[in-house]
């Protein structure tokens, strides 16, 4: 096997497939990157939970395949001078890497034992822009639970139905969901592990190029122009999150995102030493009063809002509010409070491209 490619392309390819290579595994072949030269050059990283295949532009290709140790190969490639890289497999799986005046030989492994990525049944496939998917993951991933006792909640639900595509995360204390429209008339539900979504989010580019998402029974496939990502799914039934979203609200406000975000950030300075203390929101007379009262001191801040409904006092963990407020790009939002002890819902002023729900801190007198 041999080929020539640019150093930059190779670094990008290695960096991406390395996200699917585990550092310490029992089988040495799993610590490797699989490289296959055919019509094009293909790099694969696979840790069963996550598999990534990246297609690389290359010339002077001589067919063949090899597995190289991910860490050493990656370290070498990254340090090479910016020029053409020449890769060749010699006898006994020795891999030669040559770039300008640098020359390396490293020991490779036979590609035979490498676990290839599974084929995914193309049952239901949708396509959206990479930008949209990236934004939807950004809006929801922080609400994933880290509680291993409820494994299903350590992932995000991807759900397609009736021309809508939703991503939902919830950890029991808050919920984040993002929605977009799709052309395809398919319906599916799958829960993608949070750590895989995190890697996928990093691979996605800021482009309107399409990404195709295919969901089968036990895998999800994400296909871009030169990259395929296969993620395992989390087993089990996701919580029926829609049943948590209240239908009736006691108080509804429209508020400027920057005002409320900065107000809560300032207020939470007082509680940053002792996370037990909530921020208190007091809504009355078209005003939102944000206060904190902790052992170190107190804070007060008043914001103009448009309100509808009754006066209300409610407490929140400021982090839960801020996590959601910080991913909102709109100028204004609508916050609906079901009651001072029930869920509160954050929505756009118009449309339904996101919905965040936060449960309050009950304060005893």
């Amino acid at each position: 096997m041999k080929f020539v490619c640019s150093k930059q392309d190779l670094v990008e390819a290695v960096t991406i497939v390395q996200k699917a290579v585990m550092a310490k595994v029992t089988l040495p072949v799993l610590e490797g990157i699989y490289i296959e030269a055919g019509e094009k050059v293909k790099l694969v990283g696979n840790c069963f939970d996550l598999g990534i295949e990246y297609t690389l532009q290359a010339d002077d290709i001589e067919k063949g395949s090899i597995v190289v140790n991910s860490r050493i190969f990656g370290d070498i490639v990254r340090r090479l001078p910016d020029s053409e890289v020449f890769i060749q497999v010699k006898d006994n799986f020795v891999v030669a890497i040559e770039c300008l005046n640098s020359y390396f030989e490293i020991k490779g492994l036979s590609a035979e034992g490498y676990p290839m990525l599974p084929e995914v049944d193309e049952e239901s496939k949708i396509s959206i822009s990479q930008n949209t998917l990236r934004d939807m993951i950004r809006k929801t991933i922080y609400a994933i639970s880290d509680d291993e006792n409820r494994r299903i909640l350590t992932g995000s639900l991807m759900e397609a139905a009736a021309g809508d595509f939703n991503i939902v995360s919830l950890d029991g204390f808050r919920l984040a969901s993002a929605k977009t429209m799709i052309k395809e008339n398919v319906s599916f539900k799958a829960v993608i592990p949070g750590k895989n979504l995190n890697e996928i989010q990093k691979i996605l580019e800021t482009t309107d190029d399409e990404i195709k998402i295919t969901l089968s029974k036990n895998q999800a496939l994400f296909e871009m122009e030169n990259c395929r990502i296969i993620s395992s799914l989390l087993d089990g039934e996701y919580m029926n999150y829609r049943s948590f979203i209240p239908e009736q609200y006691e108080t509804v406000i429209e508020v400027n995102v920057k005002d409320i975000t900065q107000g809560i950030e300032r207020a939470s300075l007082i509680t940053s030493d002792d996370k037990r203390f909530p921020v208190k929101l007091n809504i009355a007379d078209n005003k939102l009063l944000i206060t904190t009262n902790a052992e170190v001191g107190i804070s007060k801040e008043e914001i103009e809002v448009e309100m509808d409904g009754n006066d209300l006092t409610i407490g929140f963990n400021p982090r839960y509010l801020l996590d959601s407020l910080k991913v909102i790009d709109d100028e204004n939002i609508v916050i609906s409070f079901s009651s001072s002890i029930g869920p509160s819902v954050i929505r756009p002023v118009s449309g339904d491209k996101y919905l965040f729900m936060v449960l309050p801190v009950r304060m005893s007198n």
């Binding site: 029991g172 204390f173 919920l175 909530p278 407490g315 449960l359 309050p360 009950r362 304060m363 005893s364």
Partner: protein, 413 residues
């Protein structure tokens, strides 16, 4: 700056308090002057010596030995049952007295306190203050104490272990060779039954020998504990006096059963009963617990425990019991049990409660029930309301001691 630390140790605490109480209520004999012990209930298999009088000590009766064996040493031994609420109020009285001398009073166990007198002795010397405390305990509270005076907690405690009763001793660093080192090593704090055989094997019998042993050698044989006791033997200890302000770290409740528990039904009733008492204490402390631990001891006295962390902290008897029940079911090896315990920890104040999707909607009703039952029990006595499962079961509906509220020194050091 040198610290001034006092250790105040009530002499034969349970017995003195019992004696004082009885004298005040017309008893003619002072229990402290005759061979007497406070002992658990033999019928329910708690028959061990909890405290002994000085005359009983002369018969070589040891704390912790069975009453049967104590009686065989001294046939006319007087045995009295313990009354924990009395001891708790005596202990409180002692703490109140000590707080008049310094704000830094640490209740280390029911009958032992540390006081940090640093900066609190302007008019009198430390020795005079220590003496005065000892005298006031006898004259105002009616029981005698030993007071140890030194520059750290360890030395103060070792000082109060010297001659008893009703004595004040100092053990300043310069007195270590003379007072601490001749003592047998078993008297040293934290040299218990696991440590002693190892020390004896190394030919270490006195605290002085331990102090002069090589710390490397001790670490090799006893791991980090070797270094700890070597430091103690040299009088080194910099742990602060922690005024507790009743900072409860965990609420535990356990009971030795009067019969071997071999059915799941009975075991679960015991757990419910223990949880009920523990949860009541949790609520009266205005706390919520996040970790539930169940511990079991079988008839061979082997001990094991399991614990679980809850998604959201709670004070609901029902929710806590559900966890205890499921823990018990996964851990019990079906052998007969003689001791069961429930421990609630990782406590937070109940002032703020982060609600969650998993909150059982029935819980707020349960909490209202818990609150009402607590109030009824507070007004009309603990047995005014009991769960219907308990009558005729032979198992008390509210199990466990009142007297476990103080963290042990081990957990503080």
């Amino acid at each position: 700056m040198e610290r001034i630390i006092l250790h105040v140790d009530v002499n034969s605490a349970y017995l003195s308090w019992e004696a004082v109480y009885r004298l005040q209520h017309g008893a003619r004999i002072d229990l402290r002057t005759i061979p007497s012990v406070i002992g658990g209930d033999e019928k329910s298999r708690r028959g061990i010596v909890l405290a002994k009088s000085i005359p009983a000590k002369k018969y070589d009766i040891q704390t912790g030995e069975t009453l049967w064996s104590a009686r065989s040493k001294c046939p006319n031994l007087v045995v009295l049952p313990p009354s924990y609420p009395l001891y708790l109020s005596c202990s409180d009285a002692l703490v109140r007295l000590l707080k008049k001398y310094s704000p830094k009073v640490e209740r280390y166990s029911g009958d032992e306190c540390f006081v940090d007198l640093t900066g609190c002795t302007q008019k009198k010397t430390a020795e005079e203050t220590a003496w005065e405390i000892k005298e006031r305990c006898r004259t105002e509270l009616g029981f005698t104490v030993n007071v140890g005076l030194s520059t750290n907690k360890l030395l103060a405690k070792m000082a109060s272990e010297l001659e008893k009763p009703d004595k004040m001793h100092t053990m300043y660093p310069h007195e270590i060779p003379e007072k601490l080192w001749p003592m047998p090593v078993r008297k040293l704090f934290l040299s218990g039954p696991k440590t002693l055989p190892k020390l004896y094997k190394l030919n270490i019998f006195t605290i002085g020998q331990l102090a002069h042993a090589s710390p490397d050698l001790l670490q090799h044989h006893l791991k980090s504990h070797g270094l700890t006791i070597w430091k103690y033997a040299n009088g080194i200890d910099d742990s602060p006096v922690v005024p507790d302000g009743r900072a409860v770290k965990g609420i535990g409740n356990s009971t030795t059963t009067p019969f071997d528990v071999d059915s799941e039904k009975e075991a679960l009733l015991y757990l419910l009963s223990l949880t009920e008492t523990a949860a009541m204490r949790l609520r009266s402390n205005k706390m919520l617990a996040r970790v539930v631990t169940v511990s079991l001891r079988d008839t061979n006295l082997s001990f094991y425990s399991h614990q679980r962390r809850l998604v959201s902290p709670t004070d609901s008897t029902l929710l806590l019991y559900r966890q205890a029940k499921s823990l018990f079911k996964e851990m019990w090896r079906r052998e007969p049990l003689r001791h069961l315990g429930v421990h609630l920890s990782d406590l937070v104040e109940n002032k703020f409660y982060q609600t969650s999707f998993f909150d059982d909607t029935a819980v707020s009703r349960q909490q209202a029930i818990d609150k009402t039952i607590d109030e009824i029990r507070a007004s009309y006595g603990a047995d005014a309301v009991v769960r219907g499962l308990f009558p005729h079961s032979g198992i008390p509906p509210l199990c466990g001691g009142v007297y476990e509220a103080f963290p042990t020194m081990r957990s503080l050091l």
